[in-house]
């Protein structure tokens, strides 16, 4: 932004990203998607959700940092955005603790018939 020294101030501030970087990011994202789908056919027990969320978070960070230009953005914008996720984390954790403390399940159980799914759909 301020790298264009001989330009008039406040002009020519654009920072176009190199095309190979964008294409590379897209490739990595696609590979990670393939990885997520592939790992679903293995059984990692309770680690499942963790693995899936870690992969999704890596993808989200790539999209945020490169596609959304956050890696070169103003710190205040970064703080705002990351801050929202901090609050989302607090919100979900607090609600989960609360729901575990108070009630197991409040879905009304009607005496509807139990049916099970076909083995494959």
């Amino acid at each position: 932004m301020s790298a264009h020294e001989n330009a008039q101030e406040g002009y020519d501030f654009a920072h176009p990203l190199p095309l190979p970087l964008l294409a590379g990011t897209f490739l990595v994202l696609t590979l990670l998607t393939v990885l997520t789908v592939a790992q679903a056919s293995f059984n990692f027990g309770s680690l499942d959700v963790l693995i899936v969320m870690v992969i999704a978070t890596i993808k989200a960070v790539l999209v945020g940092a490169i596609f959304m230009h956050l890696a070169w953005d103003k710190p205040f914008n970064i703080i705002c955005f990351i801050g929202s996720f901090v609050f989302v984390g607090l919100f979900i954790m607090a609600t989960l603790f609360d729901s575990r403390q108070t009630a197991k399940d409040s879905i009304p159980v009607t005496d509807d018939a139990v049916v099970s799914a076909p083995a494959e759909l």
């Binding site: 959304m68 879905i107 099970s116």
Partner: protein, 420 residues
């Protein structure tokens, strides 16, 4: 905001500004795209960008409410989520993830084009992004209509019946979903023809990419149909096979087992069990045990997991028809749905999963629609060549919005489609 004399815009800061003199500005160095209350294009861009980021923060918080509902219900009833997730077509979800990622890529490329003043390429990139968005919606239309047809609906409306998974009749949901898109496509086609006949060049330039975008919705529908029917053909076959052979297995394993189980638990769940026991005995309907014996012999080879799964499916089916569906009697841990039959498809519980599913994916789809709306606006402005190296804010802001829609899908896809 910006005025429309875009052709001059990139070097406009060398000319006197337009239309601002009555504001008493010193209008030198005030280009047409620069709103009069900003000193420099950079200041204008940064202000807009901060506003956009704050909006995205509200979006994240907005979606977090739904993710929270998801987390609570999943922590209460993981088996319901596991069971119901089997109804979501992973292939369609994965294709849609790829399409969205690609559209994010073209959007980011579009921002680069706007910054580098590659007007033609920017139009192409925006049109590509829009086309991906409509492909996404087309695939989604197939997914939704298929589930509605099966009765996989939100709580209260959930009416899926595994013994009759393909009810005949009922409205043609796909036609209803497609109807608005058909109307819009016809409208754009008429617009294209009229602008061509009248020689309205600019309108023709706008209508051409929009026509492609509209048609891409039907490409998405076609793609979804192929993938869904690919899975479905197997499913149909499976259904028939299961029904046809329910008898044999039931005679051998199912019947004593399942009746025993049902009676054993009758005291716990008296009304349901009683209702179940009155069903006709399994095997009363068909007789087809010869090929079943062959199957069983083949499946006794431990490497033949496909056949073992099929046998497990047949057992589950025979238990259902034999009345033993209340409790799982198989010890096959890989039969994920059967391993938790108690609550999985109780309509009041499965409905909750589908409520969350429709809520999250539906609101995500509404965001896609909104994105399409603003991108059409960008497309028109890009054809008008409004953007330049000092004024690319709108493209960048819409890009940010589009990326966050993509980011939400990145989380939605594994959380909904890939639960085991």
């Amino acid at each position: 905001m910006a005025t429309t004399d875009a052709g001059l815009a990139s070097d406009a800061h060398e000319q006197p500004g337009h239309g601002h003199s009555d504001h008493g500005h010193g209008d030198h160095d005030h280009p047409s795209y620069l709103a009069h209350h900003f000193d420099t294009p950079e200041q204008q861009f940064d202000s807009g960008k901060l506003g956009m980021w704050l909006f995205l923060v509200t979006e994240v918080l907005f979606f977090s409410g739904m993710f929270c509902a998801y987390a609570i219900f999943r922590s209460w009833r993981p088996e319901v989520f596991e069971g119901c997730s089997q109804f979501l077509n992973t292939k369609l979800g994965a294709i849609n993830t790829g399409v969205l990622l690609f559209s994010s890529f073209t959007m980011a490329w579009g921002v680069r084009c706007a910054q580098k003043e590659q007007h033609k390429l920017l139009t192409v990139m925006l049109a590509t992004t829009l086309s991906c968005a409509t492909v996404f919606l087309g695939v989604k239309a197939i997914e939704y209509s298929h589930k509605w047809h099966l009765g996989l609906l939100p709580a209260g409306l959930f009416s899926y019946d595994p013994s009759n998974p393909h009810p005949v009749g009922g409205p043609n949901y796909l036609a209803y979903i497609c109807a608005p898109f058909v109307l819009i496509t016809i409208g754009v086609a008429i617009w294209l023809v009229v602008s061509f006949l009248r020689g309205a060049k600019f309108q023709l330039e706008c209508a051409k990419p929009l026509m492609v975008v509209c048609l891409c919705f039907f490409v998405g529908v076609g793609l979804g149909t192929i993938l869904e029917s690919g899975g479905d053909a197997g499913h149909h076959e499976d259904d028939h096979a299961v029904v046809a052979s329910a008898d044999g297995v039931a005679a051998e394993h199912g019947e004593e087992h399942s009746h025993g189980e049902a009676e054993e638990h009758a005291e716990h769940e008296a009304p349901t069990a009683a209702a179940v026991v009155t069903l006709p005995a399994a095997g009363a309907m068909t007789d087809d045990s010869a090929d079943l014996a062959v199957l069983e012999r083949l499946a006794s080879d431990s490497t033949n997991t496909g056949l073992q799964d099929e046998l497990a499916a047949r057992k589950a089916q025979s238990e259902r028809s034999g009345g033993g569906i209340l409790y799982d009697v198989s010890d096959d841990a890989s039969a994920t749905v059967a391993s938790a039959p108690e609550n999985v498809l109780r309509p009041s519980r499965a409905g909750v999963f589908f409520s969350i599913y429709y809520c999250m994916t539906g609101i995500h789809a509404i965001h896609i629609l909104a994105g399409i709306g603003v991108m059409v606006w960008l497309l028109v402005r890009s054809i008008r060549m409004d953007f330049n190296r000092n004024y690319f804010g709108p493209v960048d802001y819409v890009g940010l919005y589009w990326h966050i829609v993509d980011m939400i899908w990145i989380y939605l896809f594994p959380l909904m489609y890939l639960i085991r």
